[in-house]
């Protein structure tokens, strides 16, 4: 792969990967660092054309690196910046947030990671349960159980109007 190919891949998938990393890490700067690592790692992949679904492959790399980071000492102890969710809460106009229906996203992003990722892949990536299970290397039963728990947590966190929207989707 040459730099032209790499640029094409970054153009095609960069925004998606940045968003996914943001949803996992809740920190834009760290998300950029993680996705940078992913692209650098991908650059060294000789047979990238044979990888098939590049989007899924890159998403998997990103998710795995995000999880590694969330498990790391640095995430738990080095406080480089303010949590993105906290920033949204503190610095943005509540009326605008309401208009944007941000309540749903904030509730999702506040979920513990094992429930959040199920919601992300089911609703955001629009995978079905089996695809979520395959992607995350979990059993389908586990995914279903986590989905039930996630929805229960969201129901508690959301006002009834928002929950109704979510519950019928």
């Amino acid at each position: 792969m040459d730099s032209v190919d790499l640029e094409k891949v970054m153009d095609e998938y960069g925004e998606h990967l940045l968003k996914m990393a943001c949803f996992y890490l809740r920190d834009r700067e760290t998300a950029k660092d993680i996705v940078q690592e992913v692209f650098i790692s991908f650059y060294g992949t000789a047979n990238y054309e044979e990888l098939g679904k590049i989007r899924a492959y890159l998403t998997k790399l990103t998710v795995n690196r995000c999880k590694d980071y969330l498990r790391s000492w640095s995430f738990r102890h080095l406080q480089f910046g303010k949590d993105w969710i906290e920033t949204i809460h503190n610095e943005r106009d509540p009326l605008i947030l309401q208009e944007e229906k941000a309540e749903i996203a904030i509730a999702v992003l506040k979920l513990p990671i094992k429930y959040r990722e199920i919601i992300l892949f089911y609703y955001y990536e629009e995978y079905n349960m089996r695809e979520v299970a395959q992607f995350l290397n979990l059993s389908e039963n586990t995914v279903k159980t986590r989905m039930i728990k996630a929805r229960k947590l969201l129901k508690n966190a959301l006002s009834s109007d928002y929950w109704e929207v979510l519950s019928i989707e």
Partner: protein, 311 residues
């Protein structure tokens, strides 16, 4: 597009600028990630686990001396850990007690491993420390370094140099001892609680003196036992799996491993004959000693053996 997706897209906003910056970073040859802290190990193991060891050898006093002359509390480490944990525990008395307890726990482990024949490879640990410190700092330019150091000082009140040379050094020593014990498990069945009690007894004079000097309140004896409330999810011989965050209909038909994966939290307990009164899927509140697991389980799933009661 569903409402969840729409909401998430709105909250994350436009990432075009981020993408362009990212492209520049990658394509301009700045391939070294700016991520500052890629520690591969569980570096805070001394403040997150209660791993306590003791064995026959220690009771025999072959390694430790009853007069405690071999043991000295690392005051610098204690002071830094106080700062490190200040955001986690607000009450200053509780903070001092907890930090002291964790410090003694990790010391007891290292000393115990040595009592079984563990010889610390000082050179290897020194090299590991230097490597991790280098990895940490190499992504920074001078301006970033100053900024990060300033943030660290504001948040914790000590420098990265102090962190590496004192806290992380001790963490590496502790981790090395844990790994050695993992490969050289003790023959005698001993629980973590026994380890702690014996260690405190052996070094009572030194520890008491340090606690008086630092005005560290002793741990409340009633805090030895804690409670865990949940659903009885599995019964295997005399062992009971209690889980939180799932209902009966969500876990029926699952293996114990799957149940634990799905549950919000879980724990195994060793019961006495009262286990016969237990039924699957009932709610239970277990009172137990959180250090009552065998030392051989330090690195794996724990079974708590000292259950003082349940209802």
């Amino acid at each position: 597009m569903n409402e969840v997706k729409r909401s998430l897209d709105r909250i994350v906003g436009d990432v075009t600028t981020d993408k362009e910056e990212l492209k520049q970073r990658v394509l301009s040859g700045k391939r070294k990630s700016k991520r500052k802290n890629p520690f591969p190990l569980v570096a805070t193991v001394i403040v997150m686990t209660a791993v306590l060891f003791f064995t026959f050898n220690v009771f025999q006093g072959e390694y430790l001396k009853k007069d405690g002359s071999e043991y000295e509390v690392n005051e610098e480490l204690y002071d830094l850990l106080l700062k490190s944990e200040q955001h986690e525990i607000e009450d200053p008395d509780e903070l001092r007690t907890v930090v002291m307890q964790r410090l003694v726990e990790s010391d007891s482990l290292i000393e115990y491993a040595k009592s079984l024949g563990y010889l610390a490879d000082e050179q290897a640990m020194k090299e590991e420390l230097a490597k991790e410190q280098q990895t940490f700092f190499e992504g920074f330019n001078e301006e970033e370094l100053n900024s990060v150091e300033q943030t660290q000082l504001e948040n914790f009140g000590y420098t990265y140099e102090q962190y590496f040379q004192t806290i992380h050094k001790h963490t590496i020593q502790f981790t090395a001892a844990v790994e050695w014990l993992d490969h050289n498990p003790p023959a005698e069945h001993t629980t973590q609680r026994e380890v702690l009690d014996a260690f405190l007894e052996t070094h009572a004079d030194v520890i008491t003196e340090f606690m008086e000097k630092k005005q560290i309140p002793p741990a409340d004896p009633s805090s030895v036992y804690v409670e865990f409330e949940g659903l009885v999810a599995a019964i295997e011989n005399r062992r009971v799996l209690v889980v939180q965050g799932v209902e009966k209909d969500q876990i029926e038909g699952m293996s114990a491993e799957e149940i634990q994966d799905a549950a919000y939290d879980s724990a195994w307990f060793e019961f006495d004959e009262t286990i016969e009164q237990l039924a699957l899927y009932r709610q239970i509140n277990v009172t137990f000693d959180p250090l009552s697991y065998p030392v051989s389980q330090a690195e794996q799933e724990k079974v708590f053996e000292d259950v003082s009661g349940w209802e």
